[in-house]
């Protein structure tokens, strides 16, 4: 689990996650998945909000990043977060199936990629990578 002091002396050892997705149904499902695993989570609706929330000083153990979003997509947001020095686990989740598109997303700085829809077992495999 998150080492103490890793995120500015956070009291609890609870894992934290940021859901980045423009789809309301997906946000609700991802929230439930994370909640069921005891992971504190927050949701934003596009890549720009994901960047902004980090600019405000917040960090997360895990970021679930959708690819196609208005204002700023997942590829651009991932790139910017990495440029900002964010080292959190970023897992891309998308319905895109073209290898080229997935590769572009991964090369933007993802630690993992999962095809939507997200399931409990996919989420658990992402989390194992954090702790592994």
């Amino acid at each position: 689990m998150a080492a103490q002091g890793r995120h500015g002396g956070k009291e609890s050892n609870k894992m934290t996650a940021l859901v980045v997705d423009d789809n309301t149904v997906n946000r609700m499902i991802h929230h439930r998945l994370l909640d069921n695993l005891g992971i504190e989570n927050v949701a934003v609706v596009n890549g720009k909000e994901a960047v902004d929330i980090h600019c405000s000083g917040k960090t997360f153990d895990l970021i679930l990043m959708d690819m196609d979003m208005p204002v700023m997509n997942g590829i651009e947001a991932t790139r910017q977060l990495r440029e900002m020095g964010i080292r959190s686990m970023i897992a891309g989740v998308s319905t895109r199936s073209m290898e080229r598109e997935i590769r572009e997303f991964i090369e933007a700085g993802l630690d993992d990629y999962q095809e939507k829809p997200l399931t409990m077992s996919k989420l658990i495999s992402i989390i194992h990578k954090i702790n592994g």
């Binding site: 789809n23 309301t24 149904v25 997906n26 609700m28 499902i29 439930r32 998945l33 319905t95």
Partner: protein
């Protein structure tokens, strides 16, 4: 109808929805996310899906009535509908959305209009079926029973 009969009816009904391709494995995933702490999760997320889908279908109708069709906007709406349909396991709606997007890419208005009608039709069927299923579940709970998994 007694409790056991109701429970059996629900199981049969649910099985038929999977059998006929209205629902897929993803719907099962949603049921597995429901527990004593979140006993209404499935109904809540499906209700959100209904709300969101109806909004999108309205937007799509309006967009296809315009003098100048904005295919990019239409594609964005269909993408959303495809995404949420996939997330709740509404397989038939999801599959039609894929066809719809192909017509968008080809900028084929006739194709889009035909597809929209088909999507509306399939959506209204799955909505009716899910609502019937939820009603059966409510009847079981009201009769003091538990909903079989």
């Amino acid at each position: 109808m007694d409790l056991v009969q109701l429970q059996r009816q629900l199981v049969d009904y649910r099985t038929s929805l999977y059998h006929e391709g209205f629902l897929d494995e993803q719907f099962t995933q949603l049921q597995e996310l429901q527990d004593e702490n979140n006993p209404d999760f499935v109904v809540e997320v499906v209700s959100l899906y209904f709300e969101d889908s109806e909004r999108l279908l309205n937007e799509l109708s309006k967009a296809l009535e315009q003098q100048i069709i904005d295919f990019k906007r239409i594609d964005a709406h269909v993408h959303q509908l495809k995404g949420s349909s996939s997330s709740i396991g509404a397989q038939r709606v999801q599959k039609l959305c894929i066809v719809f997007r192909n017509y968008c890419e080809a900028q084929n208005v006739e194709g889009c209009l035909k597809c929209l009608q088909q999507v509306k039709h399939e959506y209204s069927i799955v909505k009716t079926k899910l609502e019937s299923m939820f009603q059966l579940e409510r009847q079981i709970l009201n009769a003091g029973g538990s909903v079989p998994v």
